[in-house]
């Protein structure tokens, strides 16, 4: 469990997000707005999110659809431009890298793995070319023999055969394709991988293979992961730190042990209550009420208050501020005021 201790050590973070926001303008066209007298509509996909990841750690973001976890991933790798806030990678503000050369030097150090291995590989390219592309783009390729040698190494590293480079993506199963995606991500020797639901499209036995592979790679080459998932059990298995998001805001950050044993945000408790009980303890569960509201028109104050059993007047009007502790964070008025009842969830052994 030594890697879990890194969370509290004073080592500088590899990635820091500070007050990161991304708003999307989802208004109708100017003409329609004028005629129908509609105001502008802004979707706050990510609203003031801060967290940091230490080198060699896995930070997981969990939440339901529309909570903004994938938008955070895209902001981090630069597929979206933030509306506000800062992203610092290894001490450098990413927005400061203005020249192409600076940008490339920085971007070579991170890569992304996407959810759908059927959509993220070009069907007209041989696997060899798919994996070699990042090396070509960043000018890491020497001669073509060196390139082929490196591609073969990568294929073997992710558990495929060197001969597979000659094949096309359709000749592989979903799990093998995800291995190809991982090999491609590793080809530019990154330190940091952003994984957006990397196993959600896979069967459980294949998911286990990919999760094991990702853990092996982390141990062998010291990768740092931002791991996004909606599956709490997967997150418990892979993460060193977990961040729970709801409607664009961060509710709670904690280590997996703390989060599942002593969840401090009512939304985290709701999520934990929904995990199907494979241990068959037969425990009675609180029926979960309500659904995630429309993010274009989120509730006032704490956006969770309409579903929260502990909500009071303050929750309806005031956005809760993050309360930091030694190992985590929680943004909840009830937690701040000590109105939080003891967790009812069965503590995992």
């Amino acid at each position: 469990m030594s890697d879990r201790l890194i969370a509290t050590s004073p080592e500088p973070a590899l990635l820091e997000l500070e007050n990161l926001s991304k708003y999307f303008d989802v208004s109708k066209s100017l003409l329609n707005r004028t005629i129908e007298r509609l105001p502008k509509q802004i979707l706050k996909a990510v609203d003031g999110v801060s967290f940091s990841i230490k080198p060699g750690q896995t930070f997981s973001l969990v939440g339901e659809s529309g909570c903004g976890k994938s938008t955070v991933a895209k902001l981090v790798v630069g597929l979206h431009k933030p509306t506000g806030g800062q992203i610092r990678f290894d001490g450098t503000n990413v927005a400061d890298a203005k020249s192409i050369a600076q940008n490339a030097a920085l971007r070579r150090r991170w890569q992304m793995i996407f959810q759908d291995p059927y959509a993220s590989l070009n069907p007209r390219w041989r696997v060899h070319d798919i994996i070699a592309e990042p090396m070509r783009v960043f000018g890491l390729a020497g001669s073509s023999t060196e390139l082929s040698k490196r591609v073969s190494e990568l294929l073997e590293q992710v558990g495929l055969s060197a001969m597979d480079g000659e094949k096309y993506p359709h000749e592989f199963s979903g799990g093998q394709r995800q291995r190809v995606s991982i090999a491609r991500a590793l080809s530019s020797n990154p330190e940091f991988l952003v994984c957006d639901e990397p196993t959600s499209a896979l069967d459980v036995s294949v998911q286990a293979q990919i999760l094991n592979l990702m853990k092996d790679l982390q141990r062998d080459i010291g990768l740092t992961y931002l791991f996004i998932s909606h599956n709490l059990a997967v997150v418990y298995h892979v993460a060193d730190m977990i961040g729970v998001m709801y409607l664009g805001r961060m509710c709670e950050i904690a280590t997996p042990q703390d989060l599942f044993r002593n969840p401090r945000h009512p939304y985290t408790r709701l999520l934990i209550d929904t995990i199907p009980d494979l241990e068959m303890t037969g425990k009675a569960r609180e029926p979960v009420a309500g659904e995630v509201p429309n993010p274009i028109n989120p509730p006032s104050g704490c956006s969770f208050h309409p579903r929260c059993p502990l909500a009071n007047d303050r929750c309806k009007s005031e956005i809760p501020k993050p309360i930091h502790s030694a190992t985590g964070m929680v943004a909840c008025h009830a937690a701040e005021e000590g109105r939080l009842p003891a967790p009812q969830t069965v503590a995992p052994a």
């Binding site: 459980v204 298995h237 029926p287």
Partner: protein, 324 residues
């Protein structure tokens, strides 16, 4: 007599390059009011088994052998018109994507009233009352006012509730639910599972719950059938199969699922992947991936044999029985 009996079901897909065997000698029963979970990875044949029962097998797929009996009467060889009367009236269906199960051009009320009137002798007004009652039962607030809404005006979870109401219209004996919660968020999934359980209890409806999620099965089902490459690998009471699986595939599958609170560095890994229908290995189809494979597995195909409280198709357990 069981409510549904499936006996030696065999489903084939004739193709230009030969016939593919998608379901091979599958037999099971569902009792009245029972929830049978059918679990397996993609390509295991679980959805095809469900489709065969409701008679929605897509051509060129066809039932090549075996029988499906509902309340003792064969339903696998019925002409199209007779099958239509059973489907919806005696067997309801719930599919994965609620948006494609509902007609986007008709209001929710219209679709429910029409379905009720097709299957019962209710008048328009009676059907309308029943619709409101059904929608309330599946947890749609202010049902009376939502009758005029179109499917796109509902959220994913609410749409799935409407689909469940639709499946319940004619008080069917059996509901075939194919991945009913897969497209939904976790908190909505928990709500839908609770709803299915409650309906099963209140109406004594049997449910065949097809899913890839062992967690959903553990929460809902009474018995579970684990499918692999078109066959049932193991079938038994859900508690036994989840906690003390007997078939090496089930054992691997259970170890591969991450569980909150189980601190392990690596998950159990079943090497390789499910064989394609074009090259299912001889003998036991799991033999290339099985950690306990031995000679007999390569030549002979194991049948389901009782082992303890479950039934597994594995030579490991047959050996115990025959004392070889």
């Amino acid at each position: 007599m069981a409510l549904l009996e499936v006996e030696n079901l065999r489903v084939e897909f004739p193709t230009r390059r030969g016939t593919l065997l998608a379901i091979d000698d599958v037999s099971f029963q569902i009792e009245e009011g029972e929830v049978l979970g059918v679990v397996g990875e993609s390509g295991a044949g679980k959805s095809l088994t469900g489709a065969s029962i409701i008679g929605l097998l897509e051509p060129p797929g066809r039932i090549a052998a075996g029988q499906i009996r509902l309340e003792g009467e064969r339903i696998d060889n019925l002409p199209y018109d007779e099958l239509r009367r059973i489907r919806g009236k005696k067997i309801g269906a719930i599919f994965q994507d609620p948006l494609t199960s509902l007609n986007p051009l008709y209001t929710i009320g219209r679709q429910l009233v029409e379905t009720i009137r097709v299957h019962t002798d209710d008048t328009e007004a009676q059907a309308r009352d029943r619709t409101v009652q059904l929608l309330t039962e599946v947890g749609i607030p202010a049902a009376e006012r939502r009758l005029g809404s179109y499917p796109h005006e509902f959220s994913g979870g609410m749409r799935q509730r409407v689909v469940i109401a639709l499946a319940l219209c004619a008080n069917p004996k059996l509901i075939v639910a194919d991945e009913p919660t897969t497209a939904l968020d976790v908190s909505i999934q928990a709500q839908i599972i609770a709803l299915l359980k409650k309906l099963c209890r209140d109406h004594k409806t049997a449910i065949m719950l097809i899913t890839h999620d062992m967690g959903v099965i553990a929460e809902t089902a009474d018995r579970v059938a684990v499918m692999y490459a078109g066959r049932i690998a193991e079938i038994g009471p859900v508690k036994q199969v989840v906690k003390h699986p007997k078939h090496p595939y089930t054992i691997g599958l259970m170890g591969a699922i991450p569980i909150v609170g189980r601190d392990i560095e690596r998950l159990t890994q079943i090497e390789g992947s499910m064989p394609r229908l074009t090259n299912i290995p001889d003998g036991c189809s799991f033999n290339p991936r099985c950690p306990k494979v031995f000679d007999r597995c390569y030549v002979e195909r194991p049948d389901l044999v009782p082992t303890g409280e479950t039934t597994a198709a594995c030579w490991l357990h047959a050996k115990e029985k025959t004392g070889v």
